[in-house]
């Protein structure tokens, strides 16, 4: 099976760099699979879980935040604000964030606070989901 070079950059580290066979990302309207030889395209990425199949068949599951993936002829670049392995996720913290976001949403705050709370909740929920799925 053909492989392609992948780079996953988050805002505080280089999460992954290397050859892989396939990549599945959460796009706006569902999951988006990428294999070697994909056409050049830029896809928006939503908070959710990412699956990477490495050259040696090993699978990496990760939970990512907002961002996009850019596919060119010679490499695939996944640029997201956060990316975490399931074991790095603090379940309790994520649960707290969800709870707090729910409280904020109940209080009918300003539009901005609503947006911020929604975004925080989406991130936390995707973390919790990722943690539960791949344990």
């Amino acid at each position: 099976m053909a492989v392609f070079p992948l780079k996953v950059i988050t805002c505080n580290r280089l999460f992954f760099e290397g050859k892989c066979k396939s990549l599945v990302i959460p796009a706006i309207d569902g999951e988006y699979g990428i294999l070697a030889g994909h056409e050049p395209v830029v896809v928006a990425v939503q908070p959710g879980s990412v699956r990477i199949e490495k050259e040696d068949g090993q699978r990496i599951h990760a939970v990512v935040g907002m961002g996009f993936v850019s596919i060119t002829c010679d490499e695939v670049l996944l640029l997201v604000d956060t990316a975490e392995l399931p074991e790095e996720i603090d379940e309790r913290l994520a649960a707290q964030v969800v709870e707090r976001a729910q409280e904020i949403l109940l209080q009918k705050q300003s539009h901005m606070e609503h947006q911020l709370a929604m975004a925080a909740m989406a991130r936390a929920l995707s973390r919790l989901q990722g943690k539960g799925k791949f344990r």
Binding site: C11, I28, P40, V42, S70, C73, L79, D81, M112
Partner: protein
């Protein structure tokens, strides 16, 4: 001439102050190093993001997001300006705060209806004391800038921009020119200028088109927020680094002048002590001399008296 205890007291107080300034110097240098390593960790992300935005604009030049300034000259003169002023929390950093605030004041004087956002305690105090209303003060401090902070500032700005309450957003921050000097600067945040994003890597792509899923507009709007966060975070960190740097330089200068003061003071102290010793010695010597003279006089007197007594008895014996 002052006495020794007075000079001693001054030397002690200068020494104590120097302890504080040298401690502040070390703290600043440590904070600077920490901030710099944080920048180094986030740089690849924001650098790539900028490049990617440039690339998207290159392949889809007809995108007209609301976050980009219009291509043709804008004739609207009645724009609402907004300024994000990044100052420090504390003084004792040379002219760091002053430079930023002076630039801010100059800009505000030009645009009377400007919207003002302030980061940092010194900036807040400055505008409050001059009765300049602050539209938004970020409660947290300028100390140790983090991404969540940049995110919430960006969210605030986006919110105002989306509601069309402001038309142009500028950030006033301190740019580090090199490790020795920094300068207050004005940077346009929104709307983004397409000319700032020039893509020069099209030969690497080996294609002449780029697809978007779902559409270029959506993808761009999706990443613009992050790009803004990156820009704000960059300015926050840069300001923070320059603040620590100016404080380091200020504290270094304070240390140097304290050392100089200590040198002259200890010289003065030694002189006073020496002159006191000399004076005491002179007093002792002159006292001793005076005593000696007196004793000699007394001795001579006694001798003369003894001679007087002796002479008549001699005469008597002889007679």
């Amino acid at each position: 001439m002052a006495n020794t205890t007075e000079v001693k007291g001054r030397i002690k107080s200068i020494r104590d102050t120097m302890k504080i300034t040298s401690a502040m110097y070390m703290i600043s240098s440590m904070k600077l190093r920490k901030a710099k390593s944080a920048v180094a960790r986030t740089a690849p992300y924001f650098f790539t993001l900028q490049k990617m935005i440039a690339r998207m604009l290159y392949y889809a030049p007809d995108v007209h997001g609301k976050y980009f300034s219009p291509d043709k000259e804008d004739t609207n003169t009645d724009k609402r300006y907004s300024y994000l002023v990044i100052s420090g929390d504390k003084g004792l950093a040379g002219a760091y705060n002053l430079n930023v605030l002076k630039l801010a004041q100059r800009e505000l004087a030009q645009h009377s209806n400007a919207n003002l956002m302030v980061v940092g305690e010194v900036g807040r105090q400055f505008f409050v004391s001059r009765n300049i209303p602050i539209d938004y003060h970020f409660q947290y401090t300028a100390e140790s800038p983090t991404l969540p902070r940049a995110r919430s500032i960006a969210a605030n700005i986006m919110e105002l921009f989306d509601r069309r309450e402001i038309d142009e957003v500028y950030v006033i921050f301190t740019k580090m020119k090199n490790s020795m000097s920094s300068e207050a600067e004005l940077l346009k945040l929104l709307p983004l200028d397409k000319s700032d994003y020039i893509y020069d890597g099209q030969h690497e792509d080996k294609v002449d088109y780029l697809n978007y899923d779902p559409s270029p507009q959506v993808v761009l709007d999706h990443v613009i927020n992050d790009a803004l966060v990156g820009l704000i975070y960059g300015t926050l960190v840069e300001s923070y680094c320059s603040e620590q740097n100016s404080r380091m330089i200020a504290m270094q200068a304070a240390n140097d002048s304290a050392k100089e003061m200590l040198r002259t003071l200890s010289l003065e102290y030694n002189r006073i002590r020496q002159s006191q010793i000399t004076q005491e010695l002179t007093e002792i010597v002159s006292g001793y001399k005076a005593q000696q003279r007196k004793r000699q006089q007394r001795l001579q007197q006694r001798k003369r008296a003894e001679e007087k007594i002796a002479c008549p008895s001699d005469k008597g014996k002889e007679s």
